[in-house]
């Protein structure tokens, strides 16, 4: 049994061992091991040249990572919390995402940006945001997110192996979730969605921290005699929608669950594509359960903001009643 945080740590270690051009950069990732201890022990083992504590400047981190990548390195940048990636937004949006195209393919930027994201840990402002949609809307980036230790272990390595820039969202409130994991070989590639649980009545489409919540909702629904299929998207850009379309064609009902505000959140794109593809199979419109369209609320009321089993089942009921 290993936690999700430790699984990423193990994956990073593997990548550092395998390729001497892989290096980690970020604030407090060295001796401290990062505020979530995801990089714990790595600086001690790989040295300060490969596990680099940077000055406190996110644009600086991304900008220098781009330079390092131009020199042949494969930097893995840690952003300390979701809400602190915005100072680097220009480097990500105008440089990281576009340089391969700008160079007509003559330059690759194999950079991974690790972002612990989402709420549920009782944190202060800016520490609980789900900002994946900003990046998924940006062509040239790949966006993935893991929901369990095994995926965490493999996906971080696959992200580092990718020759394209990857924004790697880590579900911070699941860092301490434990599981036995297969370290032999990955069962899926980086951009495949996965049907976690089969069902016949309705499809729950989700990713990252909400996967566990959806699995719980499925269990509760089962006791009420409803059979829900749960799909973990894993990759948000590109989307792997074949399993989703197949599922919706079977169930006729779909509910998308994520923590980000619904307005222009991933659910919007998913709903649009699913509706277009499965128009004649749908018995109800795709419904979305997400964060409300407000700034992330203070910790004492965050449970009301975050999609939970009740809200998911409420949407399931609304879908059936439609």
């Amino acid at each position: 049994m290993i936690t999700l945080a430790k699984a990423i740590n193990a994956g990073l270690r593997k990548s550092l061992e395998k390729d001497s051009h892989v290096l980690l950069m970020g604030e407090d990732i060295g001796k401290l091991g990062g505020v979530f201890r995801v990089t714990e022990g790595l600086q001690a083992d790989f040295g300060t040249e490969r596990v680099v504590d940077t000055p406190l400047a996110e644009s600086g981190i991304l900008g220098t990572a781009i330079g390092l990548a131009l020199r042949g390195y494969r930097p893995v940048c840690e952003i300390q919390f979701d809400g602190f990636v915005y100072p680097a937004f220009d480097q990500i949006t105008s440089q990281l995402s576009k340089m391969h195209a700008r160079a007509l393919g003559k330059v690759n930027l194999p950079i991974v940006v690790r972002i612990p994201y989402g709420g549920g840990i009782g944190a202060v402002e800016h520490h609980s945001e789900s900002n994946e949609a900003y990046f998924a809307h940006t062509a040239g980036l790949r966006i993935v997110t893991c929901s369990n230790p095994e995926d965490a272990y493999w996906m971080i390595q696959q992200a580092i192996d990718s020759d394209d820039p990857v924004i790697f969202f880590e579900p911070k409130r699941r860092y301490w979730d434990k599981a036995d994991i297969n370290m032999e070989a990955p069962s899926l590639d980086l951009h495949s969605a996965k049907v976690l649980q089969e069902g016949t009545d309705l499809t729950l489409i989700t990713y990252g921290p909400s996967v566990r919540t959806c699995l719980e909702a499925r269990r509760v629904a089962e006791t009420e005699g409803k059979s829900l299929e749960v799909i973990d998207l894993r990759s948000l850009s590109p989307l792997d929608l074949e399993p989703v379309f197949a599922s919706i064609e079977k169930t006729g009902h779909g509910v998308i669950v994520h923590e980000a505000p619904t307005f222009l959140g991933m659910g919007a794109e998913l709903s649009a594509q699913i509706t277009q593809e499965c128009f004649y199979s749908l018995e109800a419109p795709i419904l979305r359960v997400g964060g409300y369209n407000v700034p992330y609320p203070p910790a004492r009321i965050e449970d009301h903001y975050l999609p939970d089993v009740d809200r998911i089942l409420d949407a399931v009921d609304r879908s059936f009643e439609f």
Binding site: E27, D28, G30, K31, L32, G33, V35, D53, T54, P55, L56, A57, S59, G60, G83, F84, Y86, P87, G122, A123, V124, E125, H126, F263, Y292, N293, V294, P295, P297, P298, A299, R300, I301, H304, Y305, D310, R311, D314
Partner: protein
Amino acid sequence: MAQERLVQLLTPEGERVEDPEYSIEISTEELKALYRDLVMVRRFDVEATALQRQGELGLWAQSLGQEAAQVGSGRALEQGDYAFPTYREHGVAWCKGVDPVQLLGMFRGVNHGGWDPNENGFQLYTIVIGAQTLHATGYAMGLMRDKSDRAVIAYFGDGASSQGDVNEAFVFASVFQAPVVFFCQNNQWAISQPIEGQTRVPLYRRASGFGFPGIRVDGNDVLAVLAVTREALAKVRRGEGPTFIEAFTYRMGAHTTSDDPSRYRLASDLEVWKLKDPIERVKVHLARTGQADSVFFAEVNAQAEEMAATLRAKIIGMPDPDPDEMFAHVYAEPHAPLAREREEFKNYLASFVDQP
């Protein structure tokens, strides 16, 4: 860096010393008031730390060790001056008259700040490193347009000096000659990063390349900080443009209650800095010069205890916000879709009430 010029008026041993450029005339009453401030601020901080340990706060960012930098600069501010803090300026908030209970709201997790910055001229805490230095500069540009003789002080840390925003604030402040004092508490650490991880030269030197003066002051010497900040404020009021103060101090606590400094710094460093404690030297000075006796010290302690007890009671009794509040202040003007979402949320919550 230790050999740099450092303005000091009161040594760690409690001796008054002279500085060639800065002097201060201070009455016994004033000095005792400063001492009281320092003790109150520390007591507040200790109480908040305890409240966090007991689960009453979600997080706390201690100001331990930085009381002189904060009280010295905070007391230099005059009515109408405006402070832009980070998340650690509890001592400045104290001087500005912000209710300590309100200050704890965001650390408890009931709001993200929520006090009225205009009430005391103390802006909300800003967590995104460096962002507030630009707000401070803009506010100061507003003061100029209002032909006001008030000034602005922008707080930030040594780590923050690396952020683009802080350097852009220097550019704007200098180009527009805005009446803003940049007050950097160099507490030597940005979480686990020592100051050498941000700069190879003393921070106060950053200013001159942007066209304004910088000065380093002993941040654990409340008198020196007071004198230097007063002078800087006077200068910006006279329209001479921004000034940079580096208060050389030390973060004696953890970065926040979530942090574990034993992973990255030596306990012995802390011992060295304990000898430079900002409160002890004032106490020694007051006592040695006969300006205060044990009765006074006991009285201050009692006041501090009382404040702490009141604070504790108020925090423990502090209710959670109505969840519906998250919709309340997103916009100042009506917003139909959000109003509908809020209504749906209310109905959804209400749907549970009658259930068994």
